[in-house]
């Protein structure tokens, strides 16, 4: 049971990390994350890097969908725009990694504003389908604008370079991906405490009331689209340098749905939720795949039954979470914490 937790100023009550306990465990977590790459092999590091990228993208989507309430079925397209931007800037113009990173974010944000523009006149389902159209159209451009995007064969990208230091292994990339991820999370967590972030939440909860309170709906929706796709662009840039290749196959509609599934499973509108969701939705398919690998070669007929299981499990996860735990993993985490806060007393 936690005791002596009293706040005497509003500032202390509004702080991101509210108590010494939280700060202590946060430091422990950071130390563990710093020690992690020294203890595991390249495969787990690769997974950690991919998860880091997924977290950045999911946090971005949660700004738009979770906080501002605008459903986007085109998030993967924005990740794709970031990825292609950095791939093209690196291979054609030879720009360094540190320049590509913000530029990919800005390029994605630019297109995010264009895709968000219809939100001036429509909302809800109609807007959701407009973002679906954006996903289909960008997908088409990635595949068919061969002179720029390299078509279905994509673009091979050399490894990133930072201050003359080649980031050519998973180990080295880890120390780039994870700090950027932490910066992205911190920025998002703080965004919700600013005027803009509060405006997003007001729009989500009741757009007409928000407008009456002096929030320019169109302007703030565009901010939300821009912020969300900036995150996506940054994630795309990192993904390119991780995989060293970019092809249209990395950004299909299914990927957009996966990002949505992350924030649903994690918890809508919660930064912590996006983190949990991204980890969960990256790890579960991977665990399933390695589980299936155990059956490999046993029986082809059995495999043909088991392989589609991944698709079924993916769908089941979404449905089960929505039906039984609509607030996602973040809510489960909160309940566990609450239990231990009062433990050993019941109330």
């Amino acid at each position: 049971m936690r005791m002596g937790d009293f706040k005497q100023t509003y500032a202390a009550d509004e702080a991101v990390f509210r108590s010494g306990t939280v700060r202590f465990w946060l430091v422990v977590l950071l130390l563990a994350m710093a020690a992690f790459p020294f203890m595991v092999g390249p495969y787990l590091l690769y997974m950690a890097n991919l998860t880091g990228v997924a977290i950045i993208a999911a946090v971005g989507l949660n700004i738009l969908t979770g906080a501002a309430g605008q459903i986007s079925l085109g998030h993967a397209a924005f990740v794709g725009i970031g990825a292609y931007t950095s791939a093209i800037l690196t291979t054609k113009l030879g720009l360094p990694f540190l320049v590509c990173l913000p530029l990919s974010g800005l390029a994605a944000a630019f297109f995010g504003i264009i895709v968000g523009a219809p939100s001036m006149r429509m909302k809800g389902l109609y807007l959701c389908i407009a973002t679906l159209a954006a996903q289909v159209i960008f997908d088409f451009i990635f595949v068919h604008w061969t002179s720029v995007t390299g078509g279905i064969r994509g673009i091979n990208v050399p490894s990133a370079e930072l201050f003359g230091y080649k980031l050519d292994t998973e180990f080295k990339m880890y120390f780039v991906t994870i700090p950027i991820m932490i910066a992205a999370i911190t920025a998002a967590r703080n965004l919700f405490r600013t005027r803009v972030g509060r405006a997003f939440i007001a729009i989500r909860d009741r757009d007409i009331s928000a407008e009456l309170m002096g929030i320019n709906l169109f302007q703030y929706k565009l901010y939300a689209f821009a912020a969300s796709s900036f995150y996506a662009g940054v994630a795309g840039c990192l993904q390119v340098y991780l995989l060293r290749i970019v092809t249209p196959e990395h950004f299909p509609l299914h990927e957009s749905i996966r990002y949505l599934a992350m924030i649903i499973v994690g918890g809508l509108g919660s930064v912590l939720g996006s983190i949990f969701g991204a980890i969960f939705m990256t790890m579960v398919p991977e665990a399933l795949q390695s589980g299936l690998a155990l059956f490999q070669g046993m029986d082809d007929k059995l495999m043909s039954y088991l392989f589609p299981l991944q698709t079924v499990v993916f769908g089941l996860l979404i449905v089960v979470f929505l039906v039984f735990e609509p607030h996602g993993l973040a809510e489960m985490w909160r309940r566990v914490k609450n239990y231990f806060r009062l433990w050993p007393f019941e109330h």
């Binding site: 649903i264 769908g315 979404i318 929505l322």
Partner: protein
């Protein structure tokens, strides 16, 4: 000129089938305000049901057809009872995501049950192409169009005159009022899902008859969105008109532009039209404009 006519005719034929599938979507949306992202998968499952009854069980076409309708209705009923009923009153995103999750489950199950191999139906209609004036239409396309139109007309009449249809329209119009008039609103939701599933499944059988079936057939369901947005999400007439427009647009754009960009225009064009329409008329051509009060 001949090419254009040819494209227009096949566009209309395909559009008729789109109209039927879109009808499956609109029926559900109108009665329950649920946007069903699994329409394409209902369609795909319907096609597989038909394959099962006709090819695997060896039944004649007409009983197979009726059995498909029955099984699809059961599927719609089950989905509504087991999943969507829990989602009443949830925010839009949850409902959208639940149907997306459902589509993933249905696709995975189809792969498990019927495998990912490409399958096709035996010939149902005379093979000889149908000739109207100077235009030649593939027989599967022509008869598919005829069946689809018949189904659309039956559904429209049912909706307009049958007791169930009137009750459904009443529920769509005002749930509270319908409830107080003694209409069982909940069972109307179930009926809407069953009818939606039947319409989609019939569309699936026709599409499967034209081009064969695969578990990924459901991705055609994505084209339903341009169709229903064009017509307005809650309009049956809109679904039919939207179906024809999308069929025409994709055939004409595909026919003329494909050589320049290397294919794929067919899948893109409906969405470009969709974006344009949304800019001009955000609620579609026949959609009901929402008036919101605080």
């Amino acid at each position: 000129m001949d090419i254009l006519l040819q494209l227009i005719v096949s566009g209309i034929a395909v559009g008729g089938v789109y109209a039927l599938i879109a009808l499956g979507f609109v029926l559900i949306y109108k009665a329950t305000s649920i946007i069903n992202f699994a329409t394409g998968e209902f369609m795909m499952i319907g096609a597989y049901f038909f394959y099962t009854f006709m090819v695997m069980a060896g039944l004649p076409p007409i009983p197979s057809f009726l059995l498909v309708m029955f099984c699809s209705a059961l599927l719609g009923l089950f989905v509504e009872r087991a999943i969507l009923r829990h989602m009443l009153g949830q925010p839009t995103i949850s409902i959208v995501m639940v149907t997306i999750g459902l589509s993933s489950i249905l696709m995975g199950l189809a792969e498990m049950i019927w495998s990912t191999d490409f399958k096709s139906f035996p010939a149902l209609f005379p093979r000889a192409p149908v000739i109207i004036g100077d235009i030649i239409v593939r027989s599967n396309l022509f008869w598919g169009f005829v069946v689809a139109m018949l189904a659309v007309i039956v559904f429209a009449l049912l909706f307009k005159y049958a007791k169930v249809g009137v009750a459904m329209r009443a529920t769509a119009g005002d749930q509270m009022a319908a409830f107080s008039m003694g209409i069982n609103v909940r069972s109307m939701f179930t009926v809407a899902w069953s009818m939606g599933a039947i319409a989609a499944a019939l569309g699936g059988v026709i599409i499967g008859n034209i081009g064969g079936i695969q578990p990924t057939l459901g991705s055609i369901g994505l084209k339903i969105f341009p169709v229903v947005i064009l017509g307005g999400l809650d309009s049956i007439a809109g679904a039919v008109v939207g179906g024809f427009i999308v069929g025409l647009v994709e055939n004409i754009a595909g026919g003329y532009l494909d050589p320049y960009v290397g294919g794929g225009v067919k899948d893109l064009a409906p969405f470009v039209v969709l974006v344009l329409i949304l800019f001009i008329k955000p609620y579609g051509l026949f959609g009901k404009q929402d008036i919101e009060r605080l």
